[in-house]
């Protein structure tokens, strides 16, 4: 039962990264793809009807984490206090940026919200990447299962971790690169002409960085936390996951050269899924590894809620998520196709 909920939470987080990832990524390259105010309105038009629904995956995943693994939720959220609060502030700015830009027709109003949207998107991708890096590297849990990390300490990977050290900065950069590519390929699907070309160009450039950073981060992960290889050693089938990552990277390049945007976007989604599944597979059955010693790690067993609650939860979760997926299919169908520049709403 705990393993099922571990998989469910991982699935929801993956859905969040793949879905909100493209609108965060679109924000990161907002000024690169949108060369004037009209085109930047186009970027927002492309994500406008769906970004809020995408972000709900974060809330739903957070809520699910809370109820299925209350110990993990309380420990991680209080331990990552400062970065989470900063994430909240960025989410506020980004949300109102997207929704308020079109409320008034004034160039300064547009410039301000374009800037807020792009900067908050960039910082969010980095923070989310760093957060994942923290989970993989482990945090200084004490005997009560709590910890508190300052934003940074000495930037080294040790037992006195800060949120940011060289390793988590690296995972943050991987996240920024991967989501920029993801967002660019989404925008390539949704746009035409000049914007489409620039979006594609952005995919082309970021691809090289992504390959380099991915390789670097995998080596760094093995160095920062050698235990990540344990599961791969015990269950060699896990090596399929890195194979998917490599395959997805190759596919992005291939479809980029073929100029087929949709398969390119799907390949980029496959890359993200592969990276996340690979991380989750390496961490399991831990949910929050301790850098202070394995005996302090939070696992699916010592962090989960009671079995009755998990059982009932499974019933309503399956019903609820089926309905939610139906909304998403309908929504993406309704707002499918290329955007029409200038016909804002």
């Amino acid at each position: 039962m705990e393993t099922i909920w571990f998989a469910i939470v991982a699935l929801m987080i993956t859905a969040y990264v793949v879905l909100d990832g493209f609108d965060l990524g679109a924000g990161a390259i907002h000024f690169f793809v949108g060369k004037n105010s009209k085109e930047r309105a186009g970027v927002l038009q492309a994500i406008g009807p769906v970004w809020d629904g995408n972000e709900v995956w974060l809330l739903a995943a957070g809520g699910t984490l809370y109820f299925a693994f209350p110990v993990l939720y309380s420990s991680a959220f209080s331990g990552f206090y400062l970065p989470l609060m900063i994430v909240l502030w960025l989410l506020i700015f980004r949300g109102i940026g997207i929704e308020l830009r079109h409320q008034m027709d004034h160039p300064m109003w547009h410039s301000f919200w374009d800037f807020a949207f792009s900067v908050s998107s960039i910082l969010l991708t980095i923070f989310f990447g760093a957060a994942l890096g923290n989970v993989i590297r482990g945090v200084p849990l004490n005997a009560d299962g709590y910890f508190f990390e300052p934003l940074w300490t000495d930037w080294r990977v040790g037992t006195q971790n800060g949120i940011l050290d060289w390793y988590t900065v690296l995972t943050g950069v991987v996240s920024l690169t991967a989501l920029s590519l993801h967002g660019a390929s989404y925008l390539a699907v949704k746009t035409e002409d000049g914007m489409n070309e620039r979006a594609r160009k952005c995919v082309g450039i970021s691809w090289y960085f992504l390959v380099a950073f991915t390789a670097l981060s995998l080596i760094a992960t093995v160095y920062a936390r050698p235990q990540v290889l344990n599961n791969y050693r015990d269950y060699p089938i896990g090596w399929l996951v890195p194979a998917v990552v490599v395959g997805a990277l190759a596919a992005i390049k291939y479809f980029h050269s073929k100029k087929s945007d949709k398969p390119m976007f799907i390949s980029s989604a496959a890359y993200l899924v592969g990276m996340l599944v690979g991380a989750v597979f390496a961490v399991y059955p831990n949910v929050l590894p301790a850098s202070t010693g394995d005996e302090y790690s939070l696992t699916i067993h010592n962090a989960a809620a009671g079995s009755y609650g998990l059982g009932v939860g499974l019933v309503w979760w399956i019903i609820g998520i089926t309905i939610a997926v139906t909304y998403f299919v309908l929504l993406y169908r309704a707002f499918g196709g290329k955007i029409d520049l200038g016909s804002e709403h």
């Binding site: 406008g48 009807p49 769906v50 809020d52 629904g53 972000e55 709900v56 809330l59 739903a60 995943a61 957070g62 809520g63 699910t64 809370y66 109820f67 299925a68 209350p70 110990v71 939720y73 309380s74 420990s75 991680a76 959220f77 209080s78 206090y81 400062l82 989470l84 609060m85 909240l88 502030w89 989410l91 506020i92 949300g95 109102i96 929704e99 308020l100 409320q103 008034m104 299962g145 709590y146 910890f147 508190f148 809620a305 009671g306 009755y308 609650g309 009932v312 939860g313 309503w316 979760w317 998520i321 309905i323 939610a324 909304y327 998403f328 309908l330 929504l331 309704a334 707002f335 709403h345």
Partner: protein
């Protein structure tokens, strides 16, 4: 009081109070939007559709602010109240997760259709989107109320090792009687906010001699809705809620009514200042025996005062609790009075010409926000000194690893950001109302 504890409490209180200014308006407007949209489908008159469209504009802005200020709430259970979340996450995590899965997905999916899809999906589906939006916002409200209700009156749980609680009955949690009564009262409160806002818009249009026809439509709808809502708040929902408090939290009742001493035939304090140190009400105006009668239907019934309970179980801010409660009840009474007069004048055909009454209706729109806030303060201060009534004390719930300095840092951060949000919100609302003529014009979008 521990500095860190105080700051974590202020942190939650500040962010939740600010957040709830928006959902109470959206939850209150949603049924009125459905009302206008339904009238349009039924009667086929475009003006009803315009009215729904214009209120939709106001709804949309409040909704955005509700969403962005709501996200921090879900996080704060973990960031600031980690020990509480660890103890009870297995229970209240259920309702919070259900809110995300059932309500948030629904709202986010239909909001876009409602705001921008009218021409794309056709009128029937557009009507459906307004109904689903109403359903989504009210469903969201239920899950939050059910979460709070479990903290007020825990049911369907068992205690397991090291202070943790587990769910034993899903349906008890969902149909907690406290949740049902609290929901009736709370949603009535939101409806009062929404209907006062519509009435105030109508009064503004008439007084400024713009969009006069819509002004009359909004006034008729707003006044009737506000009258029904205001009466509902007193009876039956307020009465039910008070009986729940009397039954399950008698200490809270004593504190909010300002009853310090156990007596027979206790009167109800209308005005007066609680003097907690001397254990009495200063400068009181009292209706004799009324409280005994309202609680037990006997004029001379004995009512336990605060002195009947151990001091460590008293709410820790009796004066503020007392004021919050009295402000809520006082404003609620004023609402009924205003709306009875307005409805009477409406019926006699004299409302639209009565400038004085129109001014009153226009200026009254902030009051329900205050009443709703005071109501929630009554509920939350009244629950003290417990996080979960009788089970988890507030002193044992906050995140002990998050220092007072860090909590103050983020509290100040939120205060700064919310100041900015307030300016933006008022500015955007002003623009929407200023452009009302454009949105209400037949050709519109």
């Amino acid at each position: 009081m521990d500095d860190a504890l105080l700051l974590h409490r202020l942190h939650f209180a500040f962010t939740i109070t600010y957040h709830y200014l928006f959902p109470q308006l959206t939850m209150g407007l949603a049924p009125l939007i459905v009302f206008f949209k339904t009238l349009f489908i039924w009667k086929g008159e475009e003006r009803y559709n315009r009215a729904a469209f214009f209120l939709g504009k106001i709804f949309a802005i409040a909704f955005i602010f509700g969403v962005v200020t709501g996200i921090p709430m879900e996080f704060q259970f973990g960031t600031n109240w980690a020990r509480f979340s660890r103890a009870v996450g297995g229970v209240i995590g259920q309702t919070l997760a259900m809110e995300g899965v059932f309500a948030f997905f629904l709202e986010s999916a239909v909001l876009g259709v409602f705001l921008f899809g009218e021409r794309k999906v056709g009128q029937r589906l557009h009507w459906l989107s307004s109904v689903l939006l109403f359903l989504g916002t009210w469903l969201s409200g239920y899950f939050i109320v059910a979460t709070n209700a479990w903290m007020q009156h825990p049911v369907g749980y068992e205690q397991v090792g090291d202070g943790k609680f587990q769910l034993t009955s899903f349906w008890s949690l969902i149909f907690n009687p406290w949740a049902i009564y609290q929901y009736m009262h709370n949603m009535g409160g939101a409806f009062v906010t929404g209907s006062f806002a519509v009435a105030a818009l109508g009064a503004f249009f008439l007084l400024s001699k713009k969009n006069v026809d819509f002004g009359k439509l909004f006034l008729r709808t707003g006044v009737v809705a506000a009258l029904l809502g205001s009466v509902w708040m007193l009876f039956p929902s307020g009465d039910f809620q008070a009986k729940m408090v009397a039954k399950h939290q008698p200490i809270t009742l004593a504190a909010m009514e300002g009853v310090f001493k156990t007596e027979n035939g206790v009167g109800i304090v209308l005005v007066g200042q609680p003097n907690v140190h001397e254990q009495r009400i200063d400068n009181p105006i009292i209706v004799p025996n009324a409280l005994s009668f309202m609680t037990y239907q006997r004029w001379d019934a004995e009512l336990k005062g605060l002195d009947a309970y151990p001091k460590e179980d008293h709410p820790d801010n009796i004066a503020l609790l007392y004021y919050a409660y009295h402000i809520m009840v006082g404003l609620g009474t004023i609402f009924i009075a205003i709306m009875i007069v307005a409805a009477l004048q409406l019926w006699r055909g004299k409302l639209f010409g009565s400038n004085l009454l129109l001014w009153v209706l226009m200026l009254a729109f902030p009051l329900p926000f205050i009443a709703n806030t005071a109501g929630w303060m009554t509920s939350e201060l009244g629950r003290q000194p417990w996080l979960v009534y009788g089970l988890v004390r507030t002193t044992g719930g906050f995140s002990s690893t998050v220092s007072a300095g860090n909590a103050l840092f983020t509290l100040l951060g939120f205060m700064g950001i919310y100041t900015l949000l307030s300016i933006l919100y008022l500015f955007l609302m002003y623009r929407v109302i200023d452009n009302a003529g454009k949105y209400l014009a037949e050709e519109g979008e």
